[in-house]
């Protein structure tokens, strides 16, 4: 199954959106729409083929970015839902990234996110998904990604995010134990989090852990001053943010740091203006799409985080995004979910 069948014939131009100019570079709105729409139209495309092992996440990145831009109808709803349904493993209940691959928590969350976007959760066996997630929790509260036993705080986030979206956080997993495990991954030096106890703090994993506490309504457990400082120190003179000290800036890290700071009520600790300039400088004006850094090759992953970052920064012409779940806010409202956020001090 390829992305090809998800794309409706292009109608060219269209309405909605807007070429907003927020100083410096302009957002290449329609170029990005086109980029996402065309992503995978050529099924023999090398990159596309080589990334089939994360196809489900790829679809989540594409649909979410398009939805934020108000252009979701450009993709074929029905065939996407059919694809997602075919990827649910009949034995375990988890989702594979694509047919012929094995189910995993990472792709299970992506699948649930896509179905929420399309308001189509009833199309799948939800109880089976709940069983899959619950079955991966370990006695210490951590989560395996799949039956092969890798433990990572990313999976703790995937587990609670999936259950929250399914409305099944109550009486399923042991939340207290899950909280205890994530807390054991907090580093005293910087208040940040790594992938497992003792692992170095990393912006991507911090996003997962802060998101985890936001979903379990336990943000009070964070050392917001310490962690917020470390996070705002990720901003570099270019305006972009890195994931760890003395590393290069990157659009995806920009999202992870930005979203974490927003959840913690500390967005004003960085320069939004400079960050916006950086994100816009990572657009590919020829093909559309965003790359990790200025002048690099664009991809669908960085395109979502570029668009998402701009939305969080309040760029005009984009729908509001929820920082915890990285999905359009209107969907989160429709589901009646309220991830916790701290007020600005």
């Amino acid at each position: 199954m390829d992305f090809t069948t998800f794309v409706k014939p292009s109608n060219g131009g269209g309405s909605g959106g807007g070429d907003a100019n927020d100083g410096g570079q302009k957002l290449q709105f329609w170029k990005h729409v086109e980029y996402i729409e065309n992503h995978g139209k050529q099924e023999d495309d090398y990159e596309y083929c080589m990334t089939e092992f994360l196809r489900m996440s790829g679809i989540y990145w594409g649909t979410t970015a398009l939805d934020i831009m108000g252009q979701l109808e450009r993709l074929e709803r029905k065939s996407i839902i059919e694809f997602v349904k075919r990827c649910q493993c009949p034995t375990t209940g988890g989702f594979a990234p694509c047919e012929g691959h094995d189910p995993h928590l990472l792709y299970t969350l992506s699948a649930i996110q896509i179905l929420c976007t399309y308001d189509a959760l009833e199309e799948i066996d939800r109880e089976a998904v709940v069983r899959f997630v619950v079955g991966l929790q370990q006695p210490d509260g951590s989560f395996f990604g799949d039956k092969w036993g890798e433990v990572d705080t990313r999976f703790s986030f995937c587990a609670v995010a999936s259950l929250t979206l399914l409305g099944r956080m109550e009486q399923t997993i042991d939340v207290e134990k899950a909280v205890k495990f994530v807390l054991s991954c907090c580093n005293q030096t910087d208040g940040g989090f790594g992938s497992k106890p003792g692992a170095e703090s990393h912006a991507g994993l911090i996003y997962c852990c802060v998101g985890f506490f936001s979903l379990t309504q336990r943000l009070h457990l964070l050392d917001v001053d310490k962690l917020g400082w470390w996070l705002c120190e990720r901003q570099l003179p270019s305006g972009g943010l890195n994931g760890r000290p003395e590393k290069l800036p990157d659009v995806c890290y920009s999202w992870w740091v930005l979203a974490s700071l927003t959840i913690m009520g500390r967005l004003h600790w960085i320069s939004s203006e400079k960050l916006q300039q950086f994100i816009l400088s990572c657009q590919d004006a020829e093909t559309g799409g965003f790359s990790d850094r200025t002048g690099n090759m664009p991809d669908i992953f960085h395109t979502l985080f570029g668009i998402g970052g701009l939305s969080l920064l309040g760029h005009s012409g984009l729908k509001a995004i929820n920082p915890t779940l990285c999905m359009p806010q209107y969907i989160i409202d429709r589901l009646g979910i309220k991830p916790q956020r701290l007020p600005r001090p």
Binding site: D102, P245, P345
Partner: protein, 512 residues
């Protein structure tokens, strides 16, 4: 996809590349198709292993292929157990010499013995990690393989980490793996600390190594009072080392983060909340905690007066964060009795309100002073002087400005309060990206100072007045004011805070 520069290519080159890629796509599809067929047929054999190798060497992120390899390994192991295990390695302990001979004989051993099965997997992950040293899947497969092998050579894995950290000293996967294998190999913590020191000597700009160090020190040199990250003696040595490193290139942030941690309290994230402030009269009580704790029902709260112990129940939240609480319970308050208040295992004596006021209170300002030996104080002063000297030459050096403010506060926070605020004001300009952070930090330090001075003011604890602090951008520690009747803050701040102006004892009485 990270770090791929977009390059201009000629039409010809593009065509050539396209053809090349088309071939790769075809090969990938063919191999994947074959793998899936074989898996369905349950053929977990050597052919399966070689098919997956072809793809994994190029793309170690295809996790399903690693799963298939694990299935193959388990299949082989169970067959070996079933009795075909004539070549299986004996389980008794072997000397180093024997191990070496065995390793050299390895090639002559038949394919299917447990040792060679494991070696095969380890070799493949090593090759894959050469291609992509950040492949979660390859690292995990290596861990999984070693866990299957009761005779895994953990010492060899430690050596492998040493090698990998030479290629990339910041790869967090390698550091994570190192913590895992040094645990298995039971490498003493002191030895790991020496390893960190060596790494930092080679290149001090290594946040990963400073981090690893921060995990080892509190255990090796514990602080008895628990108000600093490690013993004062060791702390002094660390401060010396880190400042030397930081001064090598004051613009590199790695060592400065470590320095700030050293100067902190070393408090654990999961420590219990402590009583910040408490006040009661005949109609009820208010309680402020030094950190948020929404689940107050979990904590036992008691009022002890004279012969009586009253359990305080049904606390209601005063703020959204869970730092201040009220309890509308009637007491028979006796002016002449001494009262104390207990929160879990913390017990504090209450002071009676002055004048004709009915009731009693407790207050502990947020800025605690950690113990400081003469030697440590001298070290802090030397460090501050070095920072001030550097600022003479580089007055805009961000990290030096921040660190000197932190050192001043560590030496004497109230005497140096105004000077440390000047540093923050300067930082707002030289590090303007984080202007908002410095403003909030200035507000914190100001409130810490004002709350520290509060008990000495005439209106304490009934009135709190900081109306003259017009630069205040936010009002941290607001919960401490819950015991006051009246608070005066600058008008601008009041407008900004709106609904979140802290509630006072008087406000809460009106509400009840």
């Amino acid at each position: 996809m990270h770090g791929r520069v977009k390059v201009r290519t000629t039409e010809e080159e593009r065509e050539r590349k396209k053809k090349e890629q088309a071939l790769k796509v075809r090969a990938y599809r063919a191999a994947m198709g074959r793998i899936q067929k074989k898996r369905e047929a349950g053929e977990l054999d050597n052919e399966m292993l070689s098919l997956t190798v072809q793809i994994l060497l190029r793309n170690p992120d295809v996790s399903t292929l690693w799963n298939i390899r694990r299935e193959c390994v388990l299949e082989k192991l169970s067959k070996l157990k079933e009795g075909e295990a004539t070549y299986e390695t004996p389980t008794e302990e072997k000397s180093e010499e024997e191990k070496q001979t065995e390793a050299s004989e390895k090639k002559t051993l038949p394919e299917d013995n447990a040792h060679s099965v494991f070696t095969h997997e380890l070799d493949l992950t090593e090759q894959c990690l050469m291609v992509n040293p950040k492949s979660y899947n390859a690292w995990h497969h290596r861990c999984w393989t070693l866990e299957q092998n009761p005779q895994a050579d953990w010492q060899r894995e430690v050596q492998l980490c040493n090698k990998y950290l030479k290629f990339d000293e910041r790869n967090f996967h390698t550091w994570d793996y190192r913590r895992y294998v040094t645990g298995k190999a039971m490498v003493p913590a002191v030895q790991e600390l020496d390893f960190c020191t060596e790494k930092i000597k080679v290149n001090f700009s290594n946040y990963s190594s400073w981090h690893h160090r921060s995990l080892l020190l509190p255990g090796l040199y514990p602080n008895q009072q628990k108000d600093r990250p490690m013993s004062e003696e060791k702390l002094q040595k660390e401060l010396e080392m880190v400042l030397t490193a930081a001064f090598t290139d004051p613009n590199d942030s790695s060592a400065w983060f470590y320095q700030r941690w050293l100067l902190g309290s070393g408090a654990q994230l999961d420590r219990a909340p402590r009583i910040a402030a408490f006040r009661l009269d005949s109609h009820g009580a208010v309680l402020a905690l030094d950190k948020p704790y929404p689940d107050i029902k979990q904590l036992r709260t008691e009022l002890i007066g004279g012969e009586e112990t009253i359990l305080l129940e049904s606390w209601l939240p005063v703020d959204k964060l869970g730092t201040s609480w009220k309890c509308q319970q009637n007491f028979d308050y006796q002016r002449n009795s001494a009262y104390s208040f207990r929160l879990s295992d913390q017990n504090v004596n209450l002071s009676p309100m002055s004048g004709s006021e009915n009731g009693a209170y407790y207050f502990a300002p947020p800025h605690g002073t950690a113990s400081c030996s003469k030697d440590l104080l001298a070290e802090l002063q030397t460090q501050l002087q070095s920072c001030l000297d550097l600022l003479e030459f580089e007055p805009d050096s961000k990290w030096t400005l921040l660190t000197s403010a932190l050192l001043m506060r560590a030496i004497d926070f109230s005497a140096n309060h105004e000077t440390s605020l000047l540093n923050l004001a300067k930082l707002e300009k030289v590090d303007s990206l984080r202007e908002g952070y410095y403003k909030d930090l200035a507000a914190r330090w100001t409130m810490e100072s004002e709350l520290d001075k509060w008990p000495q003011t005439s209106g304490f604890p009934k009135s709190f007045d900081i109306a003259d602090k017009v630069l205040l951008e936010s009002l941290p520690y607001g919960q401490y004011l819950v015991i006051a009747d009246e608070i005066s803050i600058p008008n601008k701040l009041k407008e900004k805070l709106g609904d979140s102006v802290p509630k006072t004892f008087a406000d809460l009485k009106l509400l009840s």
